[in-house]
């Protein structure tokens, strides 16, 4: 058979996507129990989402929420940390805890036949942790050592400093780890108090995706979490005034072969009505390989292994940020190109219909692959619970993104991207880049120390 290589095959119509049904119930203690039937392979994923995260750290006690999450599997009842993990290992279960600004998420992936003991262990960990003094001392020490080591990881230094620059004392102004100073001030009583008042069923959701009926999941949850009680405190209050950081900042890293860059500003919350238009706009700007910024900095200039931008959508307005690591000699030029690309999207280089359609297609045509595994499905459901999204959110996603027009993208770019307010942070070799920075017209760089965050 001859092959026509004069043109690419054109894919047919994308079949419509339907998210599987979510069955829901609520236990008397307020815990929401949601399940999704997923039968392709005998694996179940259990996620417990508590809508309290690093943003709930009291001022001066930054790092408390994450340290508390870390303490949960350090012992429960008569079991030590080691014994808990032996019990998990005996059923092949994998426990992960993940803490972000808005939430704490515990995940257990397990072979379906071990769902029962896995949920039971999860409840022991969450509801009945021992929170012992000696474990606290050890865990805090490990986290202090981690912070010490992160001083040498350029990306981590950049992330920590960038949040502080953008948000100051706002609840989003620190990363979940906290600082060496704040961790040093914590006590085990802080952890106990935080656990008692924040890790509560009233604002928590248990999500199970796997080959199991909702009735079974509900009965299992009712047994395991029956004696979990407590009301949830109110949501995090936004701070009225955000800082006005210097335009240009540098954390010196002498002799570094690359500069780690962050360029961005505080942007928009997850509940914005412009969510879909912003996601589409970001695809054009820096959200995929063929986006403008990656093609420019990597494929045309060869300055980097890769560049990307993102709107970090959160319950309160999150950051828009470009992140890239560029060879030292190209630092100033990469910053200029990046800022020009962000500014260009608002008018000088308006989005073309073709660019938008590539970005939209990349989001929509392969949408089904985001929901192949039990873990992907459970994680998707956490998004609904975390941000109070409508039940049909995933079913409507493709249509909503396909409805985004060039005009919409231009409008949201204008409304949510502010080139004159971009804050740039460099973690790199100051002596090697300082002369070039002058030409950027961003003012003299503020020089920061790596260990001040």
């Amino acid at each position: 058979m001859t092959v026509d290589r004069s043109r690419l095959p054109v894919p047919g119509k994308t079949p419509p996507f339907h998210f599987p049904a979510i069955e829901r119930s609520t236990l008397p203690n307020g815990l929401r129990v949601w399940s999704v039937r997923h039968v392709s392979i005998p694996v179940a994923t259990v996620m417990l989402l508590v809508r309290r995260g690093a943003a709930n750290d009291p001022v001066g006690k930054e790092g408390l929420a994450a340290l508390t999450a870390d303490m949960l599997d350090e012992g429960t009842g008569a079991l030590s940390a080691i014994q808990i993990h032996e019990a998990l290992a005996r059923v092949g279960a994998q426990l992960d805890s993940d803490i972000g600004p808005d939430a704490t998420l515990l995940t257990v992936t397990v072979l379906s036949r071990f769902l029962d003991p896995a949920v039971s262990l999860l409840s022991d960990i969450v509801v009945r942790p021992s929170l012992r003094e000696e474990d606290f001392a050890r865990v805090r020490q490990l986290r202090l050592h981690r912070l010490m080591q992160l001083r040498d990881v350029p990306g981590a230094v950049a992330d920590r400093a960038f949040m502080r620059l953008l948000y100051g004392t706002h609840p989003y102004g620190h990363t979940p780890l906290g600082s060496e100073t704040s961790l040093a001030s914590l006590t085990v009583d802080d952890v106990r108090t935080y656990h008692a008042s924040n890790i509560t069923p009233e604002d928590a959701t248990l999500i199970v995706a796997g080959d199991c009926s909702h009735a079974d999941v509900e009965a299992l949850a009712a047994r395991a979490f029956a004696d979990w009680n407590g009301a949830a405190p109110g949501p995090v209050a936004p701070v009225a005034d955000l800082p006005s950081p210097p335009r240009l900042n540098i954390i010196p890293r002498q002799g570094a072969p690359q500069s780690e860059l962050r360029i961005g500003h505080v942007s928009v919350a997850r509940n914005t009505p412009d969510y879909h238009a912003l996601v589409a706009a970001n695809m054009v700007l820096g959200g995929q390989f063929v986006s403008r910024i990656n093609l420019n900095l990597r494929e045309h200039k060869g300055f980097t292994y890769g560049a990307r931008t993102s709107f970090d959508f959160r319950r309160l307005p999150g950051p828009f940020a470009l992140q890239v690591s560029v060879q030292t000699g190209a630092t100033a030029e990469a910053i200029r190109e990046s800022i020009d690309e962000i500014a260009g999207l608002r008018g000088v280089r308006p989005v073309s219909a073709e660019e938008l359609s590539t970005g939209v297609a990349a989001l929509t045509r392969g949408y089904a692959r985001n929901f192949e595994t039990a873990e992907q499905i459970a994680r998707a459901v956490t998004q609904l619970a975390l941000y109070d999204l409508p039940e049909r959110y995933f079913d409507e996603f493709v249509d909503r993104v396909e409805a985004v027009s060039v005009t919409d993208v231009m409008r949201v770019a204008y409304e949510y991207l502010h080139p004159d307010r971009l804050t740039t942070l460099i973690v790199g070799d100051y002596a090697a880049v300082s002369r070039d920075l002058n030409a950027l017209n961003l003012g003299a760089p503020a020089v920061l120390a790596a260990d001040t965050f």
């Binding site: 079949p15 690359q258 089904a368």
Partner: protein, 435 residues
């Protein structure tokens, strides 16, 4: 659990593996070329990986970059190179299977006419930046290549890092690409796996349409270096931009799927994987002498090495960590694991094995695993037997493997210490020359 598949070898030598899984309307297209940095020679290292980059820069009949049409069709795609093989994959919606095959076949058959000096220069710059980002500018980033360079002699194909030596990357010539392509990138040195929402006959017909006309290349002679022998303890040190010193110990061990490979895999878990492991319990939990500890049987096609690494807590010494690690290795080699440890190891091996098979695509998913078994063992259906290897491990077989391969002093000992603090290194260490 078994994965049903069919295998077809085209006249030009291309192996085609097809697995139907209609659960999700997606298809994974995964191609392995049986070439990696092991096929390079000293002075010309980094080539296989550099070449992987060029494969995304366009081919004769679509010379505009590989990502654009595939991302526009909703694909997720990537590639990777290691010492043994280079893989490329796309996960596409069912309706874009033909597009993916068109693209993969075009770069398999027609890459060179589209290769220009400008692309070559650009991707060399990108690779040099990948090297800076992932190795040179990363704490402990040079440790891996220092271990390989010391474990394997200079003429052994695992001696050099897959990312390549900086000088070799600068010296690479565009003309060399032509020869490399002709030697390694052709149907007879490749394996194509398709997994997902397809009908086997329809998928095979499409594969035939796009790949059957491609010319077979020369057969590639297997690389068969002798198993290296370490004599005594090679002690090396690297001064790095780090806060805490870290110790790496390495021993030569059997190849992937070889005898004792599964034993050493489970032994590494028992020693240092997770909170239940012996070294975590002692070094991190009880003594608080280390901030972390890890171990792995790094098994590859031509051989393996067992590596144990631990980072010293402030004020603690690498010598103390080394003493405890050696004690625990020796205890495992003399007393063996407990039955509970063996049972946990088996359950975890089974669970990890099944978790990987939840997805048709990506790194480690079903299509990638079919290709791994086909390329390394000529048996794509090795799934059950692979898992059986772990079920057959006994306390005694594990003990004996540890005794034979790890519980001795013929090893590499690498200290990575803060700049200017060579005093923190193991006594008698000499500087590693990697950069």
């Amino acid at each position: 659990m078994n994965i049903t598949y069919s295998k077809h070898t085209l006249a030009n030598g291309l192996d085609v593996l097809i697995h139907e899984d209609r659960a999700c309307p997606i298809v994974s297209v995964n191609i392995w070329y049986h070439v990696g940095s092991k096929n390079e020679v000293p002075g010309r290292t980094g080539f296989a990986h550099f070449f992987e980059h060029l494969m995304f820069e366009g081919s004769e009949h679509y010379d505009k970059g590989y990502f654009q049409p595939l991302q526009g069709a909703g694909a997720l795609l990537n590639g990777s190179t290691n010492a043994d093989r280079t893989n490329y994959w796309e996960v596409v919606p069912t309706n874009a299977l033909e597009l993916a095959l068109w693209m993969e076949s075009d770069r398999m058959g027609y890459l060179l006419p589209a290769l220009t000096a400008a692309k070559f220069q650009n991707q060399r710059d990108v690779v040099l930046n990948e090297r800076r980002q992932n190795y040179e500018n990363r704490p402990y980033g040079l440790a891996g290549m220092a271990m390989l360079a010391a474990l394997y002699p200079p003429d052994h194909p695992y001696h050099w890092p897959t990312i390549g030596q900086i000088a070799d990357l600068h010296a690479a010539q565009v003309e060399e690409v032509r020869e490399f392509f002709a030697t390694y990138y052709h149907p007879a040195n490749a394996s194509l796996a398709i997994a997902g929402d397809v009908d086997t006959e329809e998928a095979l017909a499409l594969v035939r349409r796009y790949f059957e006309g491609l010319a077979p290349g020369p057969s590639v002679a297997p690389v068969r270096p002798p198993m290296p022998v370490l004599n005594g303890d090679t002690r090396l040190i690297i001064e790095d931009r780090v806060e805490l010193p870290r110790l790496y110990l390495g021993w030569i061990s059997p190849a992937m799927f070889g005898e004792d490979d599964a034993e050493l895999d489970l032994a590494a878990d028992i020693l240092a994987n997770g909170k239940t492991s012996r070294l975590y319990k002692r070094l991190v939990y009880d003594m608080r002498a280390a901030t972390d500890v890890s171990a792995a049987q790094n098994s590859r096609e031509l051989g393996g090495f067992v590596q144990i690494a631990a980072t010293a807590a402030p004020g603690r010494t690498l010598a103390e960590l080394e003493r405890v690690i050696v004690e625990e290795v020796n205890r495992l080699a003399s007393d063996g694991p407990t039955e509970d440890e063996i049972e946990r190891g088996r359950v975890q091996a089974e669970a990890q094995f099944i978790y990987r098979l939840q997805t048709v695509g990506g790194f480690g998913g079903k299509s990638d695993q079919l290709n791994a078994y086909n390329v390394f063992l000529d048996d794509p259906g090795y799934f059950d037997r692979d898992l059986d290897r772990y079920h057959h491990v006994t306390a005694e077989s594990l003990r004996a493997a540890v005794q034979r391969y790890v519980a001795h002093g013929n090893r590499v000992t690498l200290s990575v210490v803060p700049k200017g603090k060579t005093i923190y290194g193991m006594p008698g260490s000499v500087p590693s020359l990697v950069s």
